[in-house]
Symmetry: C2
Subunit: 349 residues, 2 copies
Amino acid sequence: MVSDANVRRIPRESLERHHPKGTAMRQEAPAVEIGLNAAIVAVLDNEPVVHVVREDDTGGQDALPSGPFSPLKHRTFEGGLRTWVSDQTGLELGYVEQLYSFGDRGRSAQPDDEMPHVVSVGYLALTDAGQIEESQRGSWRSWYHYFPWEDWRKGRPAILEAEIVPRLREWAERPQHVGEPARPIARQDRVRMCFAIDGAAWDEEKVLERYELLYEAGLVEEARRDGREAALAWAPTPRLGAMMRFDHRRILATAIGRTRAKIKYRPVIFELMPPEFTLFELQRTVEAILGPHLHKQNFRRLVEGAGLVEPTGHMKTRTGGRPAKLYRFRKEVLLERPAPGVRVKPGRV
Amino acid sequence: MVSDANVRRIPRESLERHHPKGTAMRQEAPAVEIGLNAAIVAVLDNEPVVHVVREDDTGGQDALPSGPFSPLKHRTFEGGLRTWVSDQTGLELGYVEQLYSFGDRGRSAQPDDEMPHVVSVGYLALTDAGQIEESQRGSWRSWYHYFPWEDWRKGRPAILEAEIVPRLREWAERPQHVGEPARPIARQDRVRMCFAIDGAAWDEEKVLERYELLYEAGLVEEARRDGREAALAWAPTPRLGAMMRFDHRRILATAIGRTRAKIKYRPVIFELMPPEFTLFELQRTVEAILGPHLHKQNFRRLVEGAGLVEPTGHMKTRTGGRPAKLYRFRKEVLLERPAPGVRVKPGRV
DNA sequence: CACACAATGCTCATTGCGAGCATATTGAGG
DNA sequence: CCTCAATATGCTCGCAATGAGCATTGTGTG
């Protein structure tokens, strides 16, 4: 337990900056600690992987690299994040983007809790797998290890019909707890939309919505850990993906959803590629991120036609067939089009 | 000045939760204060407006409704925000969405500063203008009051050629300051893309990029207030939009950009509409948000064809011409399409 | 040297969308 | 009542983007 002295009282003048006209608010605001978390993503051997830190002393839960934000040392969140990641993993991040700030970390904290409150700011970082050294490989895990139901590369994952959908259907039919916020959309419909049942289309971007639904229904281990009531009512459930520390799986879900959305309108896919690549390698990388197979010829037409790439003049010979032209990212596309990206249609299966 | 006692030291055990394996980090992290800020948007008489609080005692700067996050009172950020807004303005918010967390508030704080560090979490809220009472009208201002260059409803705003572009061109040609981060994209190209010169297309979603460019170039008052070096080198510049308190204009820029992007793939436009409306009223609202004129017949085809609306059976007669059918938002569309929205193509002029 | 395997080139039907013409209904003014 | 201005609404045409599939070109291998 942390002593009461750690709950700092913010002086009046600080509050005044918020409410110079003296509104009704008078209470003092305790300070909080800000945790910076990075979901560092790469594509390694056609598998989307995320960097994790194993924590042997806490039952082997995986965690994202993270550390507290210190305004005395870090000028910006992003700067602080880069410092932490560099210290903890040795990686120098390239592309970094803020995802979301979670105020109800792990949702386990009670309002009267005396623990210093921790707020999570999640970040997405994309890295070329070529940077990963052999010795570091063990620290990277497929993101489908944590979200098996998101992996549609071999068709609809069996875990959906076998484990998830029946339990969600049952949950949807149970009466809601009193005090639970009335949702504008019924449970039934949320399940239908999120998990593509009864003819609804699978939307690969709804990663977070699906995870939060499973959490609400008490079907992921984090819900049980955090003591959700709904979870207590449950018979033992098979492990639906690997648990992570704190709210890190939620942050990772946000990261996956954002990556899947973003490659469609920003050329961030090239952050995951080596400097030179064949068009088919590019396609495999996109498929690793999004899921199902794309039409090869059309993918080529799309990418070339959009001016996203240009040939380097070199060839790759060991393709197993005819040699392939090597391409590089064509940076000028950023100056030509307002929203360049791999505009693959959602809802393919 | 705030006494040193206000810089709370976080105890070791708190840090340990971040770094159980004992990495190299040992310094203590001071706590920070989290400010919640709301950009509350409505469309009033075909004008996009934002709720502002006037602050007569600080030179009349406008501010967004805001208040500190208190984990003791607020279970979530969003809950805290709703409480603050309700207390300060009497508004009960409907649609609310988190925008971004700004760690370098106002960018004026130095790393060695002893002021309690304030982090801004910005939110976007959308409201039906019908909720606004007559007496409250004075608290709402057109968002183009703060961003005149964003208003393309009467064609390309004159302020661009007259004031902005020439100064930006000059700024782009000046050598960068030493110590300034080397940007992957040259100043010249950033100006070109952001402000649609030399044949580049105007991207109405790049609101934040444009504001940040003007800030960097020292052309908005906030930059001068915050003591940017670049700004000091400048001869007096005409007022480019109205300044706001702290980083509120940056938050508003984020809000505008997000709104413009979001109505294209989520039916949030209906948060701004009364329960019944004509298709032309809907079009005017979209145009207020996005800018230029849309083709009336095609807009109708788009909206009806996407199943976004359904006729109520009622008619509106005082249209100035033939009476118009009244429509309502068709909620079922959420269950049918993965990303329903007013899919207007960007880059129209 | 034929074959398997990929890479690459091209066609064709369908759809989506920009643009404009045409018609239907009102209220206002003579 | 009649005409006109203004708006609502319906429909067509043509181009561009896209999904799907066939055909051809090069390499490595047995």
